[in-house]
Symmetry: C2
């Protein structure tokens, strides 16, 4: 029996031959450069059956999936039979898609046509392909040896049951939650545009639009955003969104639209954006448009080719990342509520296993979801819960099976990485829980990862320091034992928005963005041993000011997450006195803060769990 | 009485008015992009009296010196009265010369002429100025609003007693010292050029020429190089150097030239390079020339404007930085000999002060120099010894006065940063020595800096790690106490070549060059308190392989320097058990290794000094 996906790739090759294409690139993103994507744009999964992150390139004699260390094991399981080869990224010998394509094009010599689905590919990613081809010595252009063809929705003819563009209810958030009205945010953006010598900006990133308009929806699983574009000119604000009653018939949306319109915001159809912007440029309403090519899709960029566009990083990215006092207060509330849910969950887990109940990874994930769902303001999870026992946890992005999930056993380690979306904040927490006796290696790994987590959490650093300059603090305890992990140490987290956001991060890649007071970032070192176990310890940490000395102005982190770290399997002598003190103080604070909100039995249990070591 | 330097700046302004120049840039370098420069090119000192590193820009109404944190105190002492303002670099709010000039040009609007001494300014630094002007919205070009004028040796008319181009004896090094013949190195370079699609390279950096030809001279103080250019084509090697008998009359040079000529290397006059290269391009001997714009001067670049030049980083830089086994063995010998000199010096210092002898900073520097000079193969110091007592050490690049130097007192801290050039290696070591009772702050600072030194020295890291990803290890102990230092943590060191070399370093700036086995780098955190004290602990460390685990291939450092760290003033409880163990093991190794070569009294003393704590 032929493999379903191998057959689909052959269908694509038939299309390629008919159109004269040498290569097809599927970026794995959506029209807005999103990281998490709605089913409509999950083209990689449809073509390959692989449902992790990644990008696909198909030529007439090769099909390759590009993905990073986090997904090697998953790709290794899902790709066999499809004929697709894995191209590893974030490894020293990596050859990225632009360079790989450039080498193919250079070898072909002439008439090399690269088709991209311009709708779901960013303008900057296409530019990278073109740059790489030029660097490889190829002539590039409409009549040159190498051509890039915009083929919007190129799979449409094959993917007959493709889902539509999502349209979920739209809610608004008041300034009592966000700390700032949309009018204030719009006014700020206009000031920035004037400084840049532009008189309009087309916002294309969905979380930036949600932030600026103080709106939320549920168009993308786990990301409370609304598929749309936003144009801000000096006089007007036009929101391009699926607005008709038959796609968004609910009252909440009607109220939200009404509120926006009352503030003078024009609401237009999602498909009208290109025409509308081009028209405004032609009639002089817009002189110079600012756009961020990392989220502006290539299709739109092509249609707007006559408009004077100045490209650059969106100013909203940084502003959104620096949380204001109201947002910070909301984050604290969210972590208080989330901490109560986590501790109730961990109590339930321990007691259930002690009573001999059967608990699967799925049961555990569901139970945690139930506790979170009881919290007023809960709007869903911030990503799909990773509930992974034993060797399953060695996949950093393990997906717990819906049915027939593995059972938790009363020994070894259970990893749970989860988070909630609340109207007043977003959470993301990983706890690795010993379910009974652990091996010496499990205990040592558990301790060294926690040591790294603590060392980063204890960091004090001068103003201007970037995350990549701190990353080694979380890795050094592992490196000293010749161990490591293949993912970043920390990502930015949105305020009731995407659980991954920029511009800051804490990882080895050079990212010059300094950490600023008000930024929320994760601290999540880990270790993964295929076939054995996986460990990750994650808190969200808030960057705060820490005074000035003769040597400059200082910053540090404050943990937002409130949930104890289990100390029972620690190899205590691997911790320094400072690290032990941090851990005891953290666990003490968790207990003191959560105690008044916990059921009596859970509180008593937590007091035991958080005893100083 | 008018200030001498203020008068010189006015002379330059008179010249500027006569020529129609708006600004004059003096880069502080030489025709080869050198860091240390021969007196002939010490233009900044002649103009301003300031003799640290830096660059000068003079306009009709402003004179500014740009320099970094290391030189703020020195500039603050030397600039008053000159009318020159200090522009601080390596601080968050820095405005570098290109951006500062661009702002001036933008303000002027039209007819802004920037004169550069193209002889002592690199092509890339001029390109940076032009780029900045373009970014500021200025039209740039020969007939445009902003023009750069090449004014070679523009100070010549004013600087009447300007020194000539140096020409010191030239020696050759055999492969028994360098591990590789010049023919092998030339063959390697030719292979690299073929890969790059070029058929010739013009080497302009002096240490690269010395490395490739296995020659040394003493044209620049402390840098055993020879002012010259080197052209390598597929068939020929032409060395452009001051070669006439009346400038280099010695026998050693004659022998060296003879040896090179016997190997087919053509030796031409230093001034013939431009003409020669242009001629070879015209007659087709050269098709495409490779050059590194960071050491190719703007004057030469202008003369060669008709030649097809491909610019990029010199491949020699990286190759030279990775020491071969012979060079590494030489480095070890150099550090053994240097360690003996250092320990004899430290013994003498302690005993002299104990006997009540008068010892000045100068006496100490001279004594250390004498011990080094006794070593066979010693060719001078690798930089000017920093011999600084008490508050003087707060200037990281303090220059000890030649006469009437401050006296060492039997309390507080004495800092000595020094190094030797030996035909088999280069050393660079800093010890901060307690001369008697120290204050609690001195002891704490001494300990925290040593903790940082040790933490970096103990680093284990995966292949592919760059120095900037490790830098924080040396800073973290200081940062935890809200202290810091304003210079890099480590620089590459040449093999009987420049004490500072690239491409690797260990500092906060993003430098993507991974540390590779065979690279020699310094480990020198410090702390500087103006008016109080300065502390620095420096060893050279060799990057070595450290095996492979499931998590990748590992590297670590091995200290090359052999000289004990004084433990008497340590605040022991600030060190972790691992750090204490490292220190004890290091001091033990210093004693065991040096003992057979030390005079009896010194050996006995050192045994005491290196007792485990």
């Amino acid at each position: 029996m032929e493999n379903l996906y191998a057959a689909r790739i052959e269908q694509i090759r038939t299309l390629m031959r008919a159109r004269g294409w040498s290569a097809v690139v599927l970026s794995g993103s959506d029209p807005h450069g999103s990281e998490y994507i709605a089913p409509r744009w999950q083209q990689i999964a449809w073509v390959s059956g692989y449902d992790g992150e990644g990008a696909l390139v198909i030529t007439l004699d090769h099909a390759g999936l590009w993905t990073d260390t986090r997904y090697f094991i998953q790709a290794g399981r899902q790709l066999p039979g499809t004929g697709i080869e894995l191209h590893k990224t974030r490894v020293p010998e990596q050859v990225l898609i632009p360079q790989w394509l450039a080498a193919q094009a250079a070898q072909a010599g002439d008439d090399y046509v690269i088709a991209v689905d311009g709708v779901s590919q960013s303008a900057s990613s296409v530019a990278e392909i073109l740059d790489a081809c030029r660097e490889a010595g190829c002539a590039v252009g409409d009549d040159a040896a190498v051509r890039v063809v915009n083929a919007p929705d190129l799979l449409d003819g094959l993917w007959t049951d493709r889902p539509g563009i999502p349209a979920t209810p739209v809610m608004t958030l008041g300034a009592e939650l966000t700390g700032e009205s949309r009018q204030d945010r719009i006014a700020w953006l206009r000031d920035v545009l004037v400084e840049k010598g532009c008189d309009a900006m087309l916002l294309t990133a969905l979380d930036e639009i949600a932030w600026l308009l103080n709106i939320r929806a549920a168009d993308i699983p786990y990301n409370p955003v609304c598929i749309s574009y936003l144009l801000v000119t000096m006089d007007e604000v036009c929101w391009y969104v699926r607005k008709d009653d038959f796609v968004r018939p609910d009252e909440e949306t009607a109220d939200s639209f009404e509120e926006l319109r009352a503030e003078g915001i024009r609401i237009q159809g999602y498909d009208e954006v290109a025409c509308d912007v081009a028209g405004m440029f032609e009639d002089g309403t817009i002189g110079r448009l600012y756009a961020d090519p990392s989220s502006l899709n290539y299709n739109l960029c092509t249609i707007l080719s006559d408009v004077a566009i100045q490209t650059g990083p969106s100013p909203v990215t940084l502003r959104k990342a620096v949380k204001n006092p109201t947002e910070i207060a909301g984050f604290r509330d969210a972590h208080l509520e989330d901490g109560v849910a986590m501790e109730r969950f961990l109590y339930w887990l321990e007691k259930s296993l002690a009573f001999g109940d059967i608990v699967t990874e799925r049961d555990a994930a569901d139970k945690l979801g139930q506790y979170r769902a009881e919290i007023p303001g809960y709007k869903g999870d911030s990503f799909e819960t990773i509930s992974a026992y034993g060797p399953n946890a060695a996949l950093p992005h393990y997906v717990t099976p819906a049915g027939d999930a593995p059972r938790l056993e009363p020994h070894g380690l259970y990893l749970c990485d989860s988070g909630g979306q609340y109207v007043f904040g977003t959470t993301d927490i990983t706890r690795t829980v010993p379910l009974g006796p652990c091996t010496p290696l499990e205990r040592e790994d558990y301790t060294l990862v926690l040591k790294g987590h603590i060392d980063l959490a204890m960091a004090v650093f001068p103003k201007g320091t970037a995350g990549c300059q701190l990353d080694v603090l979380a890795r050094n305890p592992l490196w000293q034992s010749r161990r490591n992990f293949g993912h970043g140490t920390g990502h930015g987290v949105g305020f009731f928005l995407n659980v991954h956001e920029g511009p800051q991060d804490i990882r080895q890649n050079f990212n010059a963005q300094p950490l600023l007071p008000g930024m929320v970032t994760s601290d999540e070192p880990g270790i993964y041993r295929e076939g054995r176990h996986g460990i990750r310890h994650e808190n969200l940490i808030l960057c705060v000011e820490d005074g000035t000395t003769d040597f400059g102005t200082w910053l540090r982190f404050e943990p937002l997450t409130l949930c104890h770290f289990d100390t029972s399997v620690l190899v205590r002598e691997l911790l320094t006195p400072d690290e032990t003190e941090w851990l005891n103080e953290y666990n003490r604070r968790v207990y003191e803060t959560l105690r008044p909100r916990l059921p009596e039995a859970v509180a008593t249990w937590l007091e035991q769990k958080t005893r100083a070591i």
